[in-house]
């Protein structure tokens, strides 16, 4: 659904989106990686389970929540990619780490 603009920097950083390798430009956000990976949805809402993708890309809507390097519910649009970063969909409410 999404493509990078033609003048954009080359995609040099490899991350894992839901386990699949995906290359994105340096300085891109994890939310951009989610969009470029072409997932139909990158989270399901906790209450009704509605599918969502990143939306505002500027930290206000929380629709980009994802599990990043094992940490649940991070706003992917506020996180810059690093090589090897693991970005996984956030399915419903996170687990609370009950011992």
């Amino acid at each position: 659904m999404f493509a990078t603009r033609p003048e954009i920097r080359p995609a040099t950083v490899e991350v894992l989106v839901d386990g699949q390798p995906c290359r994105v430009p340096e300085g891109a956000s994890a939310a951009a990686a989610l969009l470029l990976a072409g997932l139909p949805a990158s989270r399901e809402t906790p209450v009704s389970g509605a599918p969502r993708l990143p939306y505002c890309m500027m930290g206000v809507c929380f629709d980009c929540l994802a599990k990043i390097d094992g940490v649940a519910n991070r706003q992917a649009c506020m996180v810059t990619v690093r090589p090897g970063m693991r970005i996984a969909p956030q399915r419903g409410a996170r687990m609370a780490g009950v011992a």
């Binding site: 906790p46 209450v47 409410a93 996170r94 687990m95 609370a96 780490g97 009950v98 011992a99």
Partner: protein, 373 residues
């Protein structure tokens, strides 16, 4: 100025006014609910959502009975609202606990619960003091610092915002009229004959109920009543949603039906200041994490403060005007808990024209030195 007649006027569209207005309309009284709006202090939109029994009414058995009565009325109120409006209030009454973080707290709590039980008299009050090890089996992830908990089967929680919406929807669904942005300005009072000006219209009725929260302090004297209520600030923290883990609410930590953890709630004398402060927020978070260490991993997503409606002795005020029969007032700091009795017991008394004798101890005349003497 246009003038309209009604069977009853209720001033204040928060939880207290909405519950009473709904109850009156259900009794067949054509009721008008006048509500100032967002410029007012509105505890009903900022509270913690407990339907709570176990910390209420020490030294005031009438209040203990009234609170227990409300917890009993709640399931039928919730079912009725759901049926009339399709809005679920998220009521769960699985019992609840008060967490004690030291041996000393646990011991004091034990004395407190024993006294409450003695004061309950014939009504009885079931409770247990549960030491740490056993409590940890009952509540997942309860921290090692917890010395023990007090438990009663009567406690629960609900969504205060859905409750407010359901009461309003049920009230208007029965034909009641809700008038927002209608601060009561001028008013006149005579026995069974009241008029108030609000939103540019003069409204008349033989009954008026003052349920304007902190606004009651100014309104009450005009109707031959007294409501010396003061603000008491409470701050609340809310975490992101998590899978359901808490099987029951505690006095200061509850997990909503949607999964958020609410952490509350301070008791501060800060006047009409709705500010928040980091020191108090830290205390709330610290106590929560000592109770359930896993809460530390969760992100906080919201925090706010709101003002409780507090009488000098911390008990509700329900009163009727002697000078102007037909005028009533209702004030409390537990408007969620007491929604059941407000709709199902208090409203019928007001509709019938007088408070029953069991309500006498709640009169504001208890603050009158001459009366007390």
């Amino acid at each position: 100025m246009n003038s309209e007649n009604h069977d009853a006027l209720v001033v204040g569209g928060g939880l207290v006014g909405a519950a009473i207005a709904y109850g009156l309309q259900r009794q067949g009284l054509r009721t008008l609910l006048l509500d100032e709006g967002d410029v007012a202090f509105r505890a009903s939109r900022g509270n913690f959502g407990l339907v709570w029994v176990q910390s209420k009414g020490l030294g005031a058995p009438h209040y203990q009975r009234w609170t227990r009565g409300s917890a009993e009325e709640w399931p039928s109120l919730a079912a009725e609202l759901q049926e009339r409006t399709g809005i679920g209030t998220g009521l769960h009454q699985p019992g609840g606990v008060h967490i004690c973080l030291s041996g000393e707290e646990f011991e004091k709590r034990g004395d407190y619960m024993a006294r409450l039980q003695r004061e309950a008299g014939n009504l009885g009050m079931e409770y247990r003091m549960i030491p740490g090890a056993e409590a940890r089996d009952m509540l997942p992830g309860l921290g090692p610092k917890v010395a023990g908990v007090s438990w009663t089967p009567y406690d629960g929680h609900a969504s205060p915002l859905y409750l407010l919406r359901a009461l309003h929807t049920a009230f208007t669904g029965l034909g009641g009229r809700y008038q927002p942005n209608a601060r009561v300005e001028r008013s006149t009072a005579a026995p069974q004959d009241f008029s108030v000006e609000a939103g540019g219209i003069r409204h008349r009725a033989p009954r008026v109920v003052l349920a304007a929260g902190l606004g009651n302090a100014d309104l009450a004297p005009r109707f031959g009543l007294s409501a010396p209520v003061r603000p008491e600030r409470g701050q609340i923290l809310v975490t992101e949603r998590a899978r359901q883990v808490l099987p029951m609410p505690t006095t200061t930590i509850r997990q909503t039906e949607e999964g958020s953890l609410m952490l509350g709630d301070s008791k501060e004398d800060a006047g009409f200041d709705l500010g928040q402060n980091p020191e108090i927020m830290r205390q709330i978070a610290r106590r929560a994490v000592l109770s359930f260490p896993w809460i530390a991993e969760l992100n906080l997503v919201r925090a706010w403060s709101a003002l409780r409606v507090m009488a000098p002795d911390g008990l509700p005020i329900y009163d009727q005007s002697e000078r102007f029969p037909g005028a009533f007032t209702a004030n409390c700091h537990s408007g969620v808990t007491l929604a059941g009795t407000h709709a199902n017991r208090l409203a019928p008394m007001i509709a019938a024209g007088a408070l029953e004798p069991e309500m006498a101890p709640f009169t504001a005349r208890r603050f009158d030195v001459r009366h007390a003497a």
